[in-house]
Symmetry: C2
Amino acid sequence: MENEVRISLRDIEGMSKIPRLTLVNALSGFKSANLIGTVSEEGVNNLAIFSSVVHLGSNPPFFGFITRPTVVPRHTYSNIKSTGQFTINHIHSGITQQAHQTSAKYDHGISEFETCGFTPVFKEGIKAPFVKESRIQMGLSYVEEYEIKANGTLMIVGKLEELFLPDQVIQEDGYLDLSLLNTVCIGGLESYYKVEQIARYGYARV
Amino acid sequence: MENEVRISLRDIEGMSKIPRLTLVNALSGFKSANLIGTVSEEGVNNLAIFSSVVHLGSNPPFFGFITRPTVVPRHTYSNIKSTGQFTINHIHSGITQQAHQTSAKYDHGISEFETCGFTPVFKEGIKAPFVKESRIQMGLSYVEEYEIKANGTLMIVGKLEELFLPDQVIQEDGYLDLSLLNTVCIGGLESYYKVEQIARYGYARV
């Protein structure tokens, strides 16, 4: 590698907070870009951006995401705990600015839908609001959670109950080429990227 | 949404295995593309592609990834358990085909480095091999693991000990624009995407 730099744990520990957050958040690679919708017991719709949604299993379909109950977006967690449901809504290139704005620390009584310019939609069987502006919308039920003891973060596990998407994105073999919907991905804490397919390989054999 | 299709849990449960895997794996959004390097107690270097690496914290720098100990890439897990270390190496557009090939079920005695065309590199303080062809290379120590009871998958948590990267990618504020290194992301099980930055926003305020 040309001009290789070595950065050790001690160097990272010695950095000030913002540069350290900026650097370390970029190191896992590109991240999924999703809005998680919930509703409070008082009926306030909540919406928050997450870059940590991961696939955990297909049968049944399980997804996870990482959060800290004590920091923003803490309302997402408390609403999921009280209602048992949440939605995951994909972010496309036309809504990145509004989506990013949901990461601001709004009070519990404020709906990020209204403040950030999104439209809540309710669908049968799911108490939490979907994002009308999203092209892939998933309704999930809470399954379980794990506290990562190393630093107190939580992984929330949900089961997909209802999926809504435009029929033209579903390919014959079941694949969804999300680039056709202009779905974006996230770099670090605040950068948004459009994507373009360069290769699709088959199942790899020895 | 035009031509909206609704797919319920029951529909997904009723699908056959391959289309279900194909569909559900695409639903979390774009995924990080990394090669995880390990070495067995017998000294065989192992390399496997993972699309589930996530950022768990910055201080200290923790990363996680999802695996199933009973399926490929099971050698990654057993090697991490026996040596306590592993490497995470970013995949760029020039090495996607070889990287994808590491997902084939090679025997424990076969090194995917050799078979798939990668060069193992050892660096001070880390027992596991780095991937010379990767432009961002991370050496981690095993911290802990969590079994997701819902389906028996594991989340492995590691702490970043050593980071190697080209100096020109580090921006003044600490950000790494991975698109400058042609780092790719993954869609579903087998699609690779190049990315292009469309926006970078600041810290969102109310």
